[in-house]
């Protein structure tokens, strides 16, 4: 029987089936400091060992400082949390990239970068953006801490089969339209609950043309459409990315693996529960204007008019505009920003930094910008960027060049917005208070964020002069 990619991976991992409830085997378990301590504690209370410690990779990312790292973590509560991860890793002898390790970074950046994320794997992490790893033709999903403990103790998860959704992005996007714009556009179309209950597979010409970095950005945002998992089929781009990654298989193991990985795509006659077709040529650079990622428009458009919305949306619409300090019908390119953040598990990879730097080279950020920061996704990304001279481009333009971590995506460390400040951000959530209480977030691509830094407001990058 023809199968979708999701079904192929799911079926290979079924340990036990009882009616429609399955016990599925987990290959890779990524952990970080915020959602793991209570799981370790639970194991201890019940005196349960870790089932397969080799499956676990740990990294601190949410709480870590992105400047003056040699001084350690100033916030005593954050410090305890990171130290708790250190202790748990030591006690159980787990692979950890700690704060002093050059490989440290955002968990969803380091997994792929190290070849710890491989096609066909089931991958979990106590973090909703685990969907990122689906870019490799893996079944990756975010789980809660109880499930983190469950996987630690049993190497399995209790699951129902998700429904399958195909998002087919046909045609070619404008060269300056990025994976982030595709993701935001899709969420604008299907809504933040559009993917609830589904595993999404992104297909079509526009997806095949994306680099692995772009595919990761896209799958990362699947959760913002409500889908626990987003995935892209394996192709040459996937295989080429994985070659020579530190933890990827080598020699005859590579050959065996590659043979298997090449089968990881939906069969041509596979049936999806839902199909959404998107015309890539319709997608322009996107900017979110509200407090939910579905509140998003193209750069040439305006914030909607209340009278054009159905009445059940009015209350949320008014609340969002009041929080954001914006008026209906305001053109997107007339929105001015105070701060610019380039980073997060969505957009902190080398390609993202290159893209932003193209728009900054030889330019200065607008004097109206209070702070612009570039936060690489990992120590390895940072090193690579520095070897290409990107750090200099950022700093000469007026950006701060920071150390890797989640940073102002969720503002758990010292990097945050003050109340009322407006930010062009390459992160994934524009919820109330996400980047700091009272802070106002506009989600954009790295190129759009860089251009907003230069102009002080959002501009259409398709009309900009850029280097290279």
């Amino acid at each position: 029987m023809a199968k979708t990619l999701y079904e192929k991976i799911f079926d290979k991992h079924v340990v036990l089936a009882q009616e429609d409830t399955y016990l599925i085997y987990i290959d890779r378990h990524l952990i970080h400091e915020v959602t793991s301590p209570q799981a370790f504690e639970g194991l201890k209370i019940h005196d349960r060992p870790l089932w397969r410690k080799e499956s676990i990779v740990a990294v601190p990312d949410h709480n870590v400082p992105t400047s003056d790292r040699d001084k350690g973590i100033q916030d005593p509560i954050s410090k305890i949390q990171v130290e708790t991860l250190d202790q748990n890793c030591k006690e159980h002898n787990l692979l950890q990239f700690d704060m002093s390790d050059v490989r440290q970074g955002i968990v969803h950046v380091i997994g792929p970068e190290q070849g710890l994320t491989l096609p066909g794997m089931t991958i979990v992490c106590g973090d909703s953006h685990t969907s990122t790893h689906g870019a490799f033709g893996a079944l990756a999903m975010g789980i809660g801490t109880s499930e983190v403990e469950h996987v630690m103790a049993t190497q399995c998860l209790i699951q129902k089969k998700l429904k399958t959704m195909k998002i087919d992005v046909q045609g070619k996007t404008h060269p300056l339209v990025s994976a982030k714009d595709i993701a935001l556009f899709v969420i604008g179309q299907i809504g933040t609950a559009g993917g609830t209950g589904y595993a999404i597979e992104f297909c079509g010409d526009a997806i095949q043309q994306l680099s692995m970095e772009g595919r990761m950005t896209l799958c990362n945002m699947a959760i913002e459409a409500g889908a626990r998992s987003g995935m892209v089929a394996v192709d040459d781009t996937t295989i080429n990315y994985l070659k020579n990654k530190p933890f990827a298989p080598t020699n005859e193991m590579w050959d065996l693996a590659e043979k298997e990985w090449r089968t990881l795509h939906s069969d041509s006659d596979a049936v999806f529960d839902k199909v959404v077709e998107i015309d890539a040529t319709m997608i322009e650079p996107q900017v979110s204007w509200g407090t939910s990622p579905e509140m998003v428009k193209g750069i040439s458009e305006s914030i909607p008019k209340k009278s054009n919305l159905t009445s059940d949306k009015h209350l949320d619409f008014q609340r969002a505009l009041a929080y954001m300090g914006l008026n209906e019908n305001t053109p997107i390119n007339e929105i001015f920003v105070d701060k610019v953040f380039i980073g997060s598990c969505t957009n902190s990879r080398i390609e993202d930094l290159r893209e932003a730097a193209r728009h900054l080279k030889g330019k200065k950020i607008n004097p109206s910008i209070k702070l612009a920061m570039a936060v690489p996704g990992s120590g390895i990304v940072k090193k690579q960027a520095e070897s290409e001279g990107l750090d200099k481009i950022f700093m000469e333009s007026g950006f701060q060049w920071r150390d890797p971590g989640c940073s102002m995506c969720l503002a758990m460390n010292a990097d945050r917005l003050e109340s009322g400040e407006r930010c062009a951000s390459t992160s994934n959530r524009n919820f109330e208070g996400r980047q700091g209480q009272g802070g106002r977030t506009h989600l954009v691509s790295p190129a759009m964020a860089a251009a907003a830094a230069v102009h002080g407001h959002f501009v259409d990058i398709r009309n900009e002069e850029i280097s290279g």
Binding site: V34, Q81, G144, S146, H150, E260, L315, F431, G433
Partner: protein, 210 residues
């Protein structure tokens, strides 16, 4: 985990869609390494007028009198009524921990985000999905009075002036009714998992490489 069978309580009407987990429990409180103590900071940014940080004496903070959770009639309520896509956003289990710590045992919504929905069951909270028109009816009932409703998991109904039946997965229902330890349950299949691993790693040997 505590069992859940049956409950009668006043309903807190929180008339919002897309309530995200950042709103349920803001990030600064996720620095705790415990599972308990999050209740006073549930909906912190809506509930208080000042900025909350861990370690503050919440009883001394200024309360937002307009926020529904602060209304005196809902002090001991165990049921939260909301609209669509409740619990969207991050996977933080601190969100159900905060709700539970506050005393919420049942959440009635038009729809829930997947990860949050799942997390509720791990903590003895019953998330109930009703139709849009049914949610609308319940909200209109709360407009005129403090609504008290009965929730029965065994028979799968919610009863106000009218009775509404709800769907729930059998496995999740029985876990909640019996307060099952899911890890213990899975570990009863230890040898099945071990046997699976044997054949799995012989089929995909590169995954055994570390």
């Amino acid at each position: 985990m505590d069992k859940f069978k049956h409950l009668v309580s006043k309903v807190i009407p929180l008339d919002r869609s897309n309530v995200d987990t950042d709103a349920i429990i803001p990030k600064q409180f996720l620095k705790s390494i415990k599972r308990t103590g999050f209740g006073p900071n549930l909906f912190d940014e809506w509930r208080y007028l000042d900025h909350g940080e861990p370690g503050m004496d919440n009883s001394k903070r200024s309360i937002n009198p307009d926020f529904v959770l602060n209304k005196p009639q809902f002090k001991d309520s165990k049921i939260l009524l909301v609209r669509e896509n409740f619990g969207c956003g991050s996977s933080r289990e601190h969100a159900p921990w905060a709700l539970l710590d506050f005393g919420i045992k049942v959440i009635i919504a038009e729809s829930f985000a997947d990860i949050f929905y799942n997390n509720c069951f791990k903590n003895g909270i019953l998330p109930i999905t009703l139709q849009k028109v049914e949610i609308e009816e319940l909200f209109s009932e709360t407009e005129t009075k403090t609504l008290e409703i009965e929730v029965n998991l065994e028979k799968q109904f919610v009863k106000s002036s009218k009775s509404y039946s709800f769907e729930i997965d059998e496995f999740k229902k029985s876990s909640l009714l019996n307060g099952l330890d899911e890890i213990g349950l899975t570990l009863e299949n230890k040898s099945v998992i071990a046997n699976f691993e044997k054949s799995y790693f012989s089929n995909y040997p590169w995954l055994k490489q570390e």
